[in-house]
């Protein structure tokens, strides 16, 4: 009986749900979303790989690659916190769904030889 007021109010006001793919909400500024890297800043130290609780990051010093398995990532953001050069960041958007699993591989371009001399 007591619910009548609430549901009639619902009927007369706009629905609370969102028609998702057509209408997306704004994300929060501090949301922990997809993990990204600025590869040219990375020093390939491997701390992120060591600290990641789900072991989804692989850093290869020889091949100069930084690899993340986005499907294993749990969005905890520890790697972002511990990165000594702050090259990792999390976007506020979640990764979009995919039909197949894949790895995200970043290869570091060899630094220009002039750079060390300039700094």
């Amino acid at each position: 009986m007591f619910m009548t007021k609430t549901i009639l109010k619902n009927l007369l006001t706009k629905y609370a749900t969102r028609l998702y793919p057509f209408h997306k909400r704004e994300t929060f500024k501090h949301s922990k979303g997809e993990l990204k890297i600025e590869m040219d800043k990375c020093i390939l130290c491997g701390v992120c790989q060591m600290r990641c609780p789900s072991q989804c990051i692989k850093v290869d010093k020889q091949a100069k690659t930084w690899e993340v398995d986005p499907f294993a990532c749990v969005y905890c953001g520890v790697c972002v916190d511990v990165c000594p050069v702050k090259c990792l960041y999390q976007e506020s958007l979640y990764r979009t769904p995919l039909a197949e699993k894949d790895m995200v591989v970043h290869v570091q371009q060899p630094k220009e030889s002039a750079e060390p001399a300039a700094t």
Binding site: M3, T4, I7, L8, Y15, A16
Partner: protein, 287 residues
């Protein structure tokens, strides 16, 4: 059989599933809006049934399928008889037969969910059928006939004015028949109860589609019964139907599910008291 009857039969057979499906769609939409959701498209019940017909046929028992078709046939027949303005008692009999076939179909499968669902469905039938009979008797007492055609021809006042309490009793029976909360005991619309989907648990694919279409006929029949209470004016008839159905949806959304242990005594006492009060009023008026 005259031309009018032929048209009525054709309309009853082919139009009522469309109307019933549409009502189901509107029901879902309105329910969604009452709950603050956007809700599915109005044509969603049709999409659902088309999809069901496209699915693999899973037969666990041939009795079950026979019963599904019999249930459909009985429901079509009730609507046809209503359209032909036939005898109320005959309609009631066919309605009961349809109900029994739904129960037998559920009992044919060995799953405990459908077995217990069938027993609960029997109890529900036991609850709403006396109520419907009481309503029909009231109509007879007021109009002097069980035949709809005679009632329409000889009685020129809305029945609602003479039988307001019996209309409430009918509303009670309809909640049980439509399996809406608080009486979604033997089966419920979204299978969110302890018996999963009760009597319908073991139906799947096209056969579930058949049951679903039977429900559409059932809805039309129920609305037809309501329409009988204001047969004099088409506009007021529609208003009555809309208000009644909205009332049912409202009740669906403001109550918790009750148990049959509560439903049986309460529906009977309430129904009997109101019916007899109404009978008494009819007699007082005649004298």
């Amino acid at each position: 059989m005259n031309t009018f009857d032929v048209i009525a039969v054709i309309a009853a057979v082919f139009l009522s599933p469309l109307v019933g499906g549409l009502v189901a769609g509107i029901d879902r939409k309105v329910t969604a809006r009452l709950q603050g959701r956007y809700g599915p498209p109005i044509l969603q019940p049709f999409y659902d049934v088309f999809k069901l017909f496209g699915k693999e046929k899973m037969v666990c028992n041939y009795w079950q399928i026979f019963c599904a078709y019999m249930y459909l046939a009985a429901n079509i027949l009730t609507v046809v008889l209503l359209a032909l303005q036939s005898d109320l008692l005959l309609i009631f009999f066919v309605l009961a037969v349809g109900g029994v076939f739904l129960v037998i179909g559920a009992l044919a499968a060995e799953s405990p969910y459908s077995q217990i669902g069938a027993q609960r469905e029997l109890i529900q039938m036991l609850t709403y059928e006396p109520l419907i009979i009481l309503v029909f008797v009231g109509i007879y007492l007021e109009t002097g006939s069980f035949k709809i055609s005679e009632i329409v021809a000889n009685y020129h006042e809305p029945l609602l004015i003479a039988l307001p309490l019996l209309f409430v009793v009918l509303g009670y029976a309809i909640v049980i028949k439509l399996r809406k909360s608080p009486f979604d005991i033997s089966t419920s619309h979204h299978a969110h109860q302890e018996l999963v989907k009760g009597v319908m648990t073991e139906y799947s694919g096209p056969y579930l589609g058949v049951i679903e279409i039977s429900h559409w006929y059932e809805t039309v029949f129920i609305l037809g019964l309501c329409a009988l209470f204001w047969h004099t004016n088409l506009i007021w008839m529609s208003v009555l139907i809309v208000v009644t159905y909205f009332g049912e949806i409202l009740v669906d959304n403001i109550t918790a599910r009750l148990t049959w242990r509560w439903m049986l005594p309460h529906a009977w006492t309430g129904g009997l008291l109101m019916s007899f009060a109404n009978y008494f009023w009819i007699y007082a008026k005649i004298k």
